[in-house]
């Protein structure tokens, strides 16, 4: 895979006494991108550090010794890890443009759905990979079926408008943005899983992300994304 450098110009944080925000992330990670969306929505300037997860930097290991993962936000030298924890921290620290609802019940609903989406993703993604990289027809069908089963739960909840409260992006929408990765990877590999026909509400949501002014700055650039999936998923498929 070619060396990728994060080329979307970000305002580099001038090291001031007042505020220093750094984000350790990976351009391909939906969890890292979520944090960028949150920071951009709040208009917080930050320095982005792209991590090579094969050769993790001493800084990353120092800031997240427990999990050694990205994303990690470092605010005035203090590290915070875990994407949903970071998102709440951002919302509490920079109070304008709230990401979470103010009302405790609505907030509880947002937390419930964000967790639901995260948990579902870890069920969906392996099924998607199976569908996209399997050698045999049967295995592919199984993967598609499994992925669609879980996607269906999301679709049903979305249709009933149980989450995705408003016009602008909030906590739940930002969490749900990881479905874009499913849409892109299926397109790259030419397999249909999340179709407009079967999942009209989810499809509409992905369109919303792509059209949103803030979010579209944070979607990974198309060509490197395609190249990445072709390389990773292609290699997996070839090995089977």
């Amino acid at each position: 895979m070619r060396e990728y450098s994060y080329f979307i110009p970000l305002p580099l944080q001038a090291a001031t006494m007042a505020e220093e925000v750094k984000l350790f992330g990976k351009w391909i990670s939906p969890f890292s991108r979520r944090i960028e969306v949150a920071l951009k929505l709040k208009g917080v300037e930050y320095e982005y550090i792209e991590e090579d997860l094969v050769n993790k930097s001493p800084a990353l290991l120092n800031y997240n010794p427990v999990h050694k993962k990205i994303p990690v936000l470092v605010h005035n030298g203090k590290p915070i890890a875990e994407s949903l924890v970071i998102m709440e921290y951002i919302d509490e620290t920079w109070k304008h443009n709230p990401i979470l609802p103010i009302d405790p019940f609505e907030k509880a609903m947002a937390r419930f759905w964000a967790k639901f989406i995260d948990d579902k993703f870890w069920a969906i993604w392996p099924a998607v990979k199976k569908a996209l990289t399997s050698g045999g027809e049967k295995e592919r069908e199984e993967g598609i079926e499994e992925a669609q089963l879980h996607l269906n739960t999301l679709e049903t909840q979305l249709k009933e408008k149980k989450f995705f409260g408003g016009e602008r992006l909030g906590f739940v929408e930002i969490s749900a943005s990881l479905i874009i990765w499913i849409v892109v990877s299926q397109e790259v590999m030419g397999v249909e899983i999340l179709t407009q026909e079967k999942f009209p509400a989810l499809h509409k949501l992905t369109q919303k992300f792509v059209e949103d002014d803030v979010f579209k700055q944070c979607v990974p650039p198309w060509e490197p994304l395609v190249a990445y999936f072709k390389a990773q998923l292609g290699a997996l498929a070839a090995s089977k």
């Binding site: 427990v66 605010h75 915070i80 875990e82 921290y89 019940f105 907030k107 509880a108 937390r111 739960t153």
Partner: protein, 231 residues
Amino acid sequence: MAEENKVKLHGVWASPYVKRVEIALKIKGIPYEFAEEDLVNKSQLLLQYNPVHKKVPVLIHNGKPICESLVILEYIDETWKNGPLLLPQDPYKRAKVHFWTSFVEKELLENVHLVVRSEGGEQEKAIKVVFEKLKLLEEGLKDLFQGETHHIDGENMGILDIVLCSLFGAHKAQEEVLGVKFIDPEKFPLLSSWVTAFIEAAVVKELGPPHEKLVAVYQFLRQKTLQASAA
């Protein structure tokens, strides 16, 4: 109690997740009605209140259901602001508590459950993982308190205390049934003193269940595992 302010908790006595919510309600001094659910024959109400997961605990407040124990704990903290707080006010300290709570929930809890539900090589592996995670937690607690002693009493329990309590409150029963000592004061002095403190807290003692019942629960789970593998 006015109808609007009515608090009802759907749960089962044996569930540590339900226990978390009860501890929180008692710490805050919130009166509530407890509805014992039959998880084999789930009530219509439960299925209506938690259609997504169909599980307990479910808290009903002002007629509105809240599900998932950690979500409920935060809701309680944000709604009843009089009385002890379950989370720190400072965003960074809050984030640290959130991080460690998530760690206990995802990394420790599942592996302890695995120890109960497995045998032989698989169980040995799970036990090893639990000890590794406990070591990380011990370090984390040192960082969290940075020299300050963390006092626990009925009033002074936070979300992390509650979550740890729901897992290791039964550590003596776990030791008795599984033959493994997770809460070892020599290996994990800070964690052990913490666990001992919350077992002694009045609110925890009051809620139980007593040691014998906990042993019975673990024995039941263990039997199920051994029977399943013998079949």
